[in-house]
Symmetry: C2
Subunit: 452 residues, 2 copies
């Protein structure tokens, strides 16, 4: 590229030179920091903490940042969230980088290494790697800033409670409120969120314009029946029967929407009250996740909720009618239907094609065998809130899913949220480099935009 | 009846007079003891204990019997079982009376009174009333014996662990072993077991010759799949889908057998591992109770078990095939099927029509508005073991279900094993009177049989 640079005006040449130097620094530094980041990842992985309780993780992050003389501007946010700031050139653009810190109520497979040392809690979604990567990126960006090579500022968001999946409990919402209240938010030009993604191999990155991730939300179907002894299983309203039928009916109705990538409506389980195998439960519940890939997610979600309610009513009515006909009795007891809607996360919408382009280019520069994947994903993410209008201001941003499987190295495509989940730890380097490189490139983009 | 008696030979007259006096005594005494029995019932109801842990209940029973100078011949049997003996006329027949003492893991409804004072444990099947009734019967029979009016002996069986529902854990089996080892069993002429039954109103008694209660036993269907994130619900083997389909298919297959009173094959619930609504479970299990009303229950149970296994295999295969076709993928993961059979209780078989006749007559004499109901019941009962061949000896007996609902008095037909279950406490008097009256009548029957 040097040849072409020589023909450009000197300020342009200087800029390009800076950028090339920054990129070289990031590439070199992210390799050098690899072992340290993997060690931090291992420690966090072994000591997973559920959403809102990431106290030890936050303490570790804070100690690390303070050792680097990075300014902590907020802590204990939403329980344990930490916000820090790296100041580069005065008056330059500000890019906010987000990593989530929470683990899940999953019992880790014994064969995993590193492995959770806490029974029933596991980093089964990779947030440990996000935290470790953002710690590494912080070190790089601080060094760039100290060298006078960062033309703006970086806000580091170590966020709690991403997995809660409801707006009320969302760690992102707490972080945004703090940013707004503290006056930090008004200066932020863009947000970047990264997530490891085990459905893709290292090198592949899921990233697209428009809707990147679906909205989330749930509908709880709660039924209360008379219950009873198992000997009356065929003479009494049976919640096991009703939920079996309801599950199949709803799946039949909603599977085509999933195949067309319009929405995911699915349920992982039905929970029955009590435990006795010979006691017909008097209450049971199944949660249907509703994820919509359209900006009109609110209307579509409403219509899906209405369908669930209607089918539940139909299945219950059919069952009661059948028992009454078969037994000739009318006093068989009733089944009450309760439908609860829980608002979830908005879809992650990339409103700025330019920022998606910068993320694409930044990833290409730092990730080996880079390949962009534009498949739409049904995973909900509270990162969406960072990109939504709040107090009259909407800030653009990007959320990218970074391939973390590496079957050849012994890291097959194990599924997120399962006991076997494990990522190639070297993927952490990819995230750290991308956090840093996107920051540098986005700062230049916004600087240029302001200058023109 | 006095008119006809005068024409009988004097020994016959004496016998009839004794019997009439005993009956009058039992009728009067069971009324008099009503409040005391209800108080004992209330105390046991408020302090329910699960099978094998009936220590406080047993202590209460033991204190009560010792206060009456009734001989305790065994205690701590199967954990907490108590066996006592009331000796009447030397060399007379011996009738063993059984009451079970265990409660269930059910959370009692707040509106019930008396109400369990233990969270999650409840006398939801009425064993508290059996224990209280047998305590009352013991008092009556001891008084009859002390007056020289009991022509034989009574063995009182306060049995633990009826609800375990498996031969290995059955309290009855422990009691029988003790009876055999202690030499008590060889002198027992008959067993009587009573159970309150809330599907019938007071006065009605379920009692029939031949098979009175079905065999019991279970088949556990355990499936292990790959699990995963809910976003893959339609691309991954889903245990929620498989169990929903399996439940409906098995119900369709086995419901006709229940309607024909041949067998009950039913499942109250499916249990899914984990709790996350957005995590596809990697393991799930449903227990199918198998209750057969034929003396050939072993062969029939085997054939039912084979059917369950076959259908489970079919449903899993269909599901895997469908996903492979829809996704065009072959690496969707597998579903392992594990079928576990658990031997339960044998059917309760009334091999002696004469004893059923004596129970019928005895009930008619002491229960107001008595009406015999001969419907076959699917409830399993470890009382069955008392009536089976053990060490080369088979002892006959009767098990009767005593109506305990009384809607007019505020005791509707609430189902056994549910939080709302409650009986009319006055039913305890019916049980106590029947325990006592059957003992008197059966002793006379066996005495006569020996004399002739």
């Amino acid at each position: 590229m040097r040849e072409t640079i020589s023909n450009q005006p000197s300020s342009q040449v200087e800029k390009q030179k800076n950028k090339t130097e920054s990129l070289d620094f990031i590439l070199e530094k992210s390799k050098e920091l690899g072992p340290e980041m993997i060690e931090n990842y291992r420690e966090i992985h072994e000591n997973p903490e559920l959403g809102g309780e990431e106290f030890e993780t936050a303490r570790k992050v804070k100690d690390y940042l303070q050792n680097l003389s990075i300014e902590i501007v907020g802590e204990g946010i939403g329980g344990s969230g930490i916000i820090a700031r790296i100041k580069g050139k005065e008056g330059g653009p500000t890019i906010a980088l987000r990593a989530d810190m929470d683990a899940l109520p999953v019992q880790e497979a014994e064969s995993n290494s590193p492995r959770s040392q806490k029974d029933g809690v596991m980093h089964a979604c990779g947030h440990d790697s996000h935290t470790a990567a953002l710690m590494g990126a912080a070190k790089m960006l601080k060094e760039l800033a100290d060298k006078g090579e960062l033309n703006g500022s970086s806000i580091l968001l170590f966020q709690p409670s991403e997995e809660k999946a409801h707006q009320k409990e969302s760690g992102a919402v707490q972080m945004i409120k703090f940013l707004e209240k503290s006056g930090l938010r008004k200066n932020i030009d863009a947000f970047l969120g990264l997530h490891v993604f085990n459905s893709l191999e290292r090198g592949q990155v899921q990233l697209k314009e428009g809707v990147q991730l679906a909205s989330s939300g749930e509908v709880d179907v709660i039924l209360k029946g008379p219950g009873g002894h198992i000997i009356n299983a065929y003479d009494t309203p049976s919640l096991h029967h009703i939920f079996s039928k309801l599950t199949l009916r709803l799946e039949e109705m909603f599977k085509p929407m999933e195949k067309k990538e319009e929405a995911l409506v699915a349920s992982a389980r039905t929970k029955y009250a009590g435990t006795g195998y010979n006691i017909l439960p008097a209450e049971a519940e199944s949660t249907w996740v509703v994820r919509v890939t359209s900006p009109h997610f609110k209307e579509i979600s409403k219509s899906i909720e209405a369908d669930i309610k209607r089918i539940a009513n139909e299945v219950v009515a059919e069952h009661l009618k059948e028992i009454k006909e078969e037994t000739g009795r009318t006093d068989i007891g009733n089944v009450d239907i309760l439908i609860k809607k829980r608002p979830g996360y908005r879809p992650v919408v990339h409103r700025s094609p330019e920022l998606v382009g910068i993320a694409d280019k930044s990833a290409e520069q730092v990730i080996d065998n880079y390949q962009k994947n534009e498949k739409l994903l049904m995973g909900g993410e509270d990162f969406s809130f960072y990109l939504e209008n709040f107090q009259g201001k909407e800030i653009p941003g990007v959320f990218a899913m970074i391939g973390s499987a590496n079957p050849e190295k012994g890291y097959p495509k194990t599924a997120h949220h399962t006991p076997d989940f494990k990522i190639d730890p070297d993927a952490i380097k990819d995230l750290a480099a991308l956090y840093s490189n996107f920051t540098v490139n986005a700062i230049e983009y916004f600087k240029e935009k302001r200058d023109n």
